[in-house]
């Protein structure tokens, strides 16, 4: 490779330098077949970064106190020096918006561009979850629509009511996701058009719950119709379509929160992969530039210093330990896949007969496009990496007075650790499994939800508070039930509480 003149030798950045670096990074990214949305790189100040933080990844957010709370928290921790701000924030949109902080040095800006504008960006565009669940081209429009709609509602119906509705929706946000169905993509224009129709249509639909025309004798003989006829896991969707007393604008707000939740769902499922992919590429691209002589050794030292911090994994007994660092795990897994392809050992050939010795770039793209954290780990976590991380598995059964070591990084343990770690990233194990099983439309319209525990883990004690929110939306009795040890259904929470009803 012929050596070229370095792009710059100072830590100061300028827009022309950013352009120059960007051009080179883009060239290398193309070389590695990274397919990205158009980049929109916005340079912002630290204060603006705090604003962006508070918006939890939404470049245009509707107004709500919870974002104010997040902003105050961020500001406080930042001012006390407890936390540095992230170097970048990147939005899954088309064009893909990335924020660069003006305080960053030239090296950091280059790192961030490689990481966000080419790493994350190509992940957003290529991964199957993002492809099928999110529509990057319409999200900005949709967020703008949501912001304006909610601001309109506040003007028409008062801040307090809108706030209460949003509070209730936020409490159920994690249960506003279609896990199996795939939403269709629509544009803002259509969205606006449909919103109007939907409002009227929905209101008319709800009336089936109110139907008072006497049923014919024939029908009564039939078995009581169960509604919903199948358990519903998407609580917000069920509320939007069926809550009898919600006003049209409240239904639209439920829908907005549900849509946003759905938009973020793929990000929750691909944290390790997404960060790992981005780290792998900033590492690979910048090293490539170094090999070409485009960046200096000084640049590389600063870069490596930061890179090492990001992908560091403290051990379980370190004071800095707070679970497995997704950056560390993801980065090392992608590096490891490349190693398996390029320099497979006998062990790799035994564990990964498909990919050992294959074209590493093909394999990496395949892995990025077709997996989520859970399946990615169960497919690609190698014994070597388990040894490198010295992973071990703890089995914690609350009924016992001790913890048991289930497996460690040895021949017998690899498979077990791989399965356990994969499960640790399985959202359906982490999030509570709660489904609507009955709405009793012919009686008191009480809503019944069933909690199915995973590995006998009980529901946390916030359940009563959440039920209050659900009750606010449904406006009739809400019950949360669980099957006990002898398979009987027992009520674990309800709203309004029983005491009040008898009194």
């Amino acid at each position: 490779m012929k050596k070229r003149k370095p792009l710059s030798d100072s830590s100061d950045w300028s827009f022309s330098l950013l352009e120059a670096y960007q051009t080179e990074i883009a060239r290398v990214a193309r070389h590695y077949r990274l397919d990205t949305y158009t980049n929109q790189i916005e340079v912002i100040t630290a204060e603006q970064m705090m604003d962006a933080y508070a918006g939890v990844g939404m470049p245009i957010g509707y107004n709500h106190w919870t974002f104010g709370k997040k902003f105050i928290q961020t500001e406080q921790t930042y001012k006390r020096g407890r936390m540095g701000l992230a170097y970048e924030i990147v939005i899954n949109s088309d064009p893909c918006i990335s924020y660069l902080m003006e305080e960053n040095s030239m090296t950091m800006q280059a790192l961030v561009m490689a990481h966000a504008c080419y790493g994350h960006n190509s992940f957003f565009k290529g991964n199957y979850l993002f492809k099928s669940w999110t529509d990057a081209s319409s999200i900005i429009d949709y967020l703008l629509f949501a912001k304006n709609y909610i601001a309109d509602c506040e003007n028409k119906f008062g801040i307090s009511d809108v706030e209460a509705t949003l509070d209730a929706c936020h409490a159920l946000m994690n249960h506003g996701v279609d896990r199996y169905k795939r939403p269709q993509k629509i544009s803002l224009e259509e969205e606006l058009k449909r919103q109007k129709n939907r409002e009227e249509y929905l209101q008319s639909q709800v009336n089936s719950l109110w139907r008072t025309i006497p049923t014919q004798a024939e029908d009564i003989k039939q078995e009581k119709v169960k509604f919903p006829n199948e358990p519903q896991e998407n609580i917000l969707y069920f509320i939007e379509k069926n809550a009898p007393l919600l006003k049209p604008w409240q239904r639209e707000i439920v829908r907005i929160v549900r849509k946003i939740s759905q938009y973020f769902y793929p990000q929750k499922q691909t944290q390790v992969m997404n960060e790992g992919w981005a780290c792998f590429w900033h590492y690979t691209i910048l090293n490539h530039l170094y090999d070409e002589g485009l960046v200096t050794e000084k640049f590389m030292l600063e870069f490596l210093h930061n890179h090492t911090n990001v992908v560091a994994q403290p051990e379980y007994n370190s004071p800095y330990y707070s679970g497995i660092n997704p950056y560390a795990l993801g980065f090392n897994m992608f590096i490891d896949i490349r190693r398996i392809c390029e320099h497979p050992t006998a062990e790799d050939k035994q564990w990964f007969p498909d990919i050992a010795g294959s074209n590493w770039l093909d394999t990496l793209h395949f892995a990025m496009e077709n997996f989520k954290d859970e399946s990615f780990i169960s497919q690609f976590l190698s014994p070597k990496l388990i040894r490198d991380f010295k992973l071990f598995h703890i089995h914690d059964d609350t009924t016992e007075s001790y913890l048991e070591i289930g497996a460690i990084h040895n021949e017998q343990g690899y498979q077990k650790i791989r399965t356990a770690l994969s499960n640790q990233y399985n959202l359906s194990n982490l999030e509570t499994n709660i489904q609507i099983i009955d709405a009793n439309i012919e009686g008191d319209r009480a809503l019944t939800l069933l909690y199915t525990p995973h590995q006998e883990i009980p529901l946390g004690n916030s359940k009563d508070e959440v039920l209050k929110h659900l009750h606010y939306l449904w406006q009739f009795d809400v019950k949360l039930v669980q099957k006990n040890l002898v398979d009987e259904i027992e009520i674990i929470a309800q709203c309004p509480p029983v005491e009040q009803k008898t009194a």
Partner: protein, 426 residues
């Protein structure tokens, strides 16, 4: 393709609205925190904001989550001592090793500390004095108090040179010149046309041509003599007086600084006035504050001396009232000013003086003042002054008295005294 956008100059306060929403939602908690804080404050740091403490549990946003218990399988890095099947003691439940992993981190991540943040001085004062107002102000406003304010009102032809409006004047000048020259210009055009035809038709008629030329020259001279600007063109900015209602008020602060007032009592009194002072300077623009401190003699002092002087002696409270009456007569006629008084004392007074105080207050002050408040700061039983004042308070709705025992009472009593209500005004 890549676009770079420099957003650094965009507004950085995107979160302001959300911050306001947050303050709005937690107003009751924040107000409690503010009320607790006022009593912890020194006199001098009134210009600062305040840090607010809200219990974290009040702020939580509940979601369904997995509780503790059941069976949990976790993978951790960095094994240095364990073998499969080892049984180890359960570590204490607080983060760190073997504790909560990915799943619960978001719910219980930061522990149960209180949520602490700062509010600005303005936000602090807004919260501190919300719903408070100087009593009876509206009524007085309606009664009299009218002030004049000069406002712009169109243009006029007369005025002092300083008020000349150049643009308007020049517009007038152009209009006048056009009007005065239009006929002549038309004539010149006609003559010029005539001259041209003459030159082409009869090149020999020199004298006729000269005559035409002479006529054109005369007309042109006439046009040139029209002045560029005339006094007639001048326009002056016009002003008129407009009556605006004002709320001019004077607040008398009377404080006992005698020997019987120990440092703690003075401190409480000072804080009461600090609150008062903050309240006044914030709520009303045109307000005078007169500070009178007294022992056996009263003296009008400035703010600095009022709060920080060190004098001792006996107590004759009537001296302060007399001085107040004198100043009122001298400078603050009750026709022009809303008069408010606030007296702070530990209740010690010459027993013989108390009836005189009551009399002065009732006859000379309450007849003119809109509102007078008396706070007594003492741990002991009430003395003659309180008893005499009590008699007056029964018959005078615009006199209020309160008893303060400790520093903690100041703020509630203050709110009580100045809460917005129409009872007195009605």
């Amino acid at each position: 393709m890549t676009n770079f956008i420099d957003r650094r100059l965009n507004s950085k306060n995107k979160s302001t609205v959300n911050r306001q929403r947050f303050l709005r939602r937690y107003k009751s908690q924040i107000k409690k925190s503010v009320a607790d804080a006022i009593n912890q404050r020194g006199v001098t740091d009134v210009d600062n904001g305040e840090s607010i403490v809200i219990p974290k549990k009040d702020l939580s946003e509940p979601v369904f989550h997995q509780g503790s218990g059941g069976i949990k399988d976790r993978v951790h890095p960095g094994n240095d001592q364990f073998s499969p099947g080892d049984k180890i003691a359960r570590p204490p439940q607080q983060g760190g090793a073997g504790g909560s992993g990915q799943g619960e981190a978001s719910n219980s991540g930061e522990g149960d500390d209180d949520f602490v943040f700062s509010i600005s001085k303005d936000e602090y004062l807004d919260l501190l004095f919300e719903d408070l107002a100087l009593p009876n102000l509206e009524k007085s406003q309606l009664d009299k108090l009218v002030e004049y304010k000069t406002v712009r009102s169109g243009y006029c032809a007369d005025g002092v040179p300083g008020n000349i409006d150049i643009v308007k004047s020049l517009q007038g000048s152009i209009a006048r010149r056009i009007a005065m020259t239009a006929g002549k210009r038309k004539k010149i055009k006609e003559l010029e046309q005539e001259l041209l035809t003459l030159i082409s038709d009869k090149p020999d008629a020199i004298s006729q041509q000269n005559k035409l030329k002479e006529e054109i020259r005369t007309l042109k001279n006439k046009i040139a003599r029209i002045p560029f600007i005339d006094t007639f063109d001048l326009r002056f900015r016009n002003y008129k007086k407009e009556a605006i209602p004002t709320s001019k008020a004077v607040m008398f602060c009377l404080m006992d600084v005698s020997g019987s007032m120990d440092q703690a009592t003075k401190d409480i009194a000072k804080r009461f006035y600090v609150l008062l002072y903050l309240f006044l300077t914030r709520t009303y623009k045109t307000i005078d504050v007169v500070y009178i401190r007294h022992h056996t003699q009263a003296k009008e002092v400035d703010e600095q001396e009022f709060f920080y002087s060190k004098e001792t002696g006996g107590t004759i409270a009537s001296s302060a009232l007399e001085l107040m009456i004198e100043i009122m007569d001298d400078r603050y006629s009750s026709n022009d000013w809303n008069i408010y008084g606030a007296q702070a004392s530990d209740g010690d007074n010459w027993a013989d003086d108390s009836p005189r105080c009551a009399k002065l207050l009732e006859k000379n002050i309450l007849t003119k003042a809109r509102y007078f408040s008396y706070i007594e700061i003492t741990q002991r039983a009430h003395q003659t002054l309180w008893q005499k004042y009590q008699e007056i308070s029964e018959s005078n709705a615009h006199f209020a008295m309160r008893h303060i025992k400790s520093v903690d009472d100041i703020y509630p009593v203050f709110r009580d005294l100045f809460k917005k209500n129409t009872k007195h005004a009605a």
